[in-house]
Symmetry: C2
Subunit: 376 residues, 2 copies
């Protein structure tokens, strides 16, 4: 059966990119690799909208998250974690392992970070070394107001760290302008290549904390990474074939223009939201993001059933809910190498499966609602 | 110019493998991935010659090395590092970052671990938690006698950890039979895929130390990795395209048979050694390994010049020396997807470049010495 990948990571890889990935491996200590490395770094800065160095690790995104704890903190330090779902949680779980004290601001599933709570927490905890949050929370489909958060945090000594693993390239992010000190990301989302690379952009303010930090780090050490960028290299053998793929995908993003990439994701997200609402379904999030739409499952149905039927009988792989949201939501990604017709496919499959499961609505309605959005 | 990769990593990737790497990415939470994951794990055990679980990380080999420190030790613990070059050094450099005390047994460049010194060190340091060493030391071309070391160490409470990053699949290694508790490796060497995956096999003896270990770990946590193996998954998004490539390359290795793979590497290594000796060059190592041959550069010449001329003018990428061996040696790899004619190419290019640089010998002699070895 022909398969369609509409999950919030891994996302589809353009053939122009995957073909490059399979080319003969080049050695990394060569002029050919160094040229590619320099171009990749320039284009990463463009996508991150930052003047800061962006370090690339052979790793999942979680490795880069861990680096954003170990490279700026010491045991006993206090941080604030403004979490809006399962991936936000990961910040304090890592912190805990390292003996860092996290003040946790937890929102109800679907709600974004409450700015007043953040202000209050910063006032009550003036010794806060850093605030950790998430651009787009993949588990709940929430977009946080990083711009407003950055404005608040920049008035304090705290460093602002944002997980943009699923958000980068999907949701507007002006890292420098919005006072984000550290942005971590991964390769298998908006960057349109397979999983295996992770990134961290690091401001000078954050790097000052590195100098004081006492937590141990080796493979994910930022200082080593920064020093090697000067030499147009990485400290340890880079994942060369993924770098080559990334070089190509970044060129594609640059050619489209990052503002246009964001606008495309917004358009696909808007169409998805309008479509599911048109057939009586509710969004989980009061602040829905442009990477993935979390849709509440109608009473009497199970999210896992919808997900499995779509995947196994229709070949359309969306995502189910995770943990306590397992059967309560389904998640349709509009992330990375996607266009209007990827959304039409997802909606058409959803319509057919919901009908099979006995949910009543006018067949074709969701698709037409999306088309109306696309025609705007 | 047509290019030839003869470095000790990355190594050439068979087209059958790289073509698989570029296939559409599959989602990792699917039956298709789980089937592949189970088969990969079975075949990794075969290549590692172990019954233990082999964990796979999205990472360079160094990440797996770090995991073999943080998952079994606590601050203040004592270890023995039996180092025979730059990569052996890395063990105590990581240990130092984590506040672990390393007794360092350092050999002269080219010499293998001295077994008497190891016995003595173990006797003098009965509280030693683990001994760290290297199967084939890429920087000096040394093979260590892991079998004999394992016999010595197994009589003590210490755990034996071996870096087989460049050695796996090139040099005979019976992990379980030789009492090796932890074997770490990487993907871009004998496993014939691009860089980006790292591995660690873990014995029950080593895992007992995990339970006592107080060093912090998150991304590289062995317990999480072990628990997810049961679920046919990895704790964090796996580097799917590299997994797919690995699945194919492990099938190729299994079809050849690991004993035959080792024998092929030995044959290529023997031919390389005989060839360079036939034109008056000396091997650096008194215990040369089968992954890479380190050749001393004749008086008056610089290793860097030979390396660069071969790479830039002949398209033949061997390796130069590193650190203090920079200009003193060159290194010719016979590692991974290589056969007789890869060695012939390296030797032919070496003959021409040495002649251009003024070194006197009978042109064709090295090639013929290799051919004689191949005809045996």
């Amino acid at each position: 059966m022909k398969k369609y990948l509409l999950t919030p990571g891994p996302t589809p890889v353009p053939a122009e990119v995957s073909n490059k990935e399979g080319l003969p491996v080049i050695h990394h200590r060569t002029a050919a690799f160094e040229k590619l490395f320099v171009e990749v770094n320039e284009n990463l800065k463009y996508v991150f909208q930052t003047k800061n160095d962006v370090l690339t690790f052979a790793s999942s995104g979680t490795g880069a998250m861990e680096s954003a704890i170990t490279n700026i903190l010491s045991p006993g330090d206090k941080i604030i974690v403004a979490e809006t779902g399962k991936f936000g949680e990961r910040w304090w779980k890592i912190a805990k392992v390292y003996g860092v004290n996290a003040v946790i601001l937890k929102e109800n599933n679907g709600d974004p970070v409450n700015l007043e709570n953040l202000k209050k927490a910063l006032k009550e905890n003036p010794e806060t070394k850093a605030v950790y949050s998430t651009l787009t929370e993949t588990s709940t489909g929430v977009a946080n107001d990083i711009k407003a958060m950055g404005e608040i945090i920049s008035k304090t000594p705290a460093v602002f760290v944002v997980d943009a693993i699923s958000g980068l390239g999907a949701q507007k992010l002006h890292s420098d302008e919005w006072h984000v000190d550290v942005v971590v990301s991964g390769s298998q989302k908006g960057l349109m290549i397979p999983p295996g690379l992770a990134f961290a952009s690091i401001s000078d303010k954050a790097f000052k904390l590195y100098e004081q930090s006492k937590l141990p780090k080796f493979y994910f050490c930022w200082k080593a990474g920064r020093e090697f960028i000067e030499k147009k290299q990485t400290p340890y053998t880079p994942a060369v074939s993924l770098f080559v793929a990334l070089h190509e995908s970044l060129n594609i993003i640059k050619a489209e223009g990052i503002e246009n990439v964001w606008a495309r994701h917004l358009k696909l997200a808007n169409a998805t939201r309008a479509a599911v609402k048109s057939i009586g379904l509710r969004l989980l999030s009061s602040s829905p993001c442009n990477a993935v739409t979390a849709v509440c499952v109608p009473d009497g149905l199970k999210g896992g059933d919808i997900y499995k039927k779509m995947r196994d009988e229709q070949g359309v792989n969306i995502a189910a809910g995770q943990s306590e949201l397992k059967d309560k939501i389904i998640r349709i990604a509009h992330l990375g190498y996607m266009e209007k017709y990827d959304i039409i496919i997802a909606l058409s499959a959803l319509e057919m499966v919901l009908t099979q499961l006995g949910y009543k609505f006018e067949l074709g309605k969701a698709v037409s609602a999306a088309e109306q959005e696309f025609l705007k």
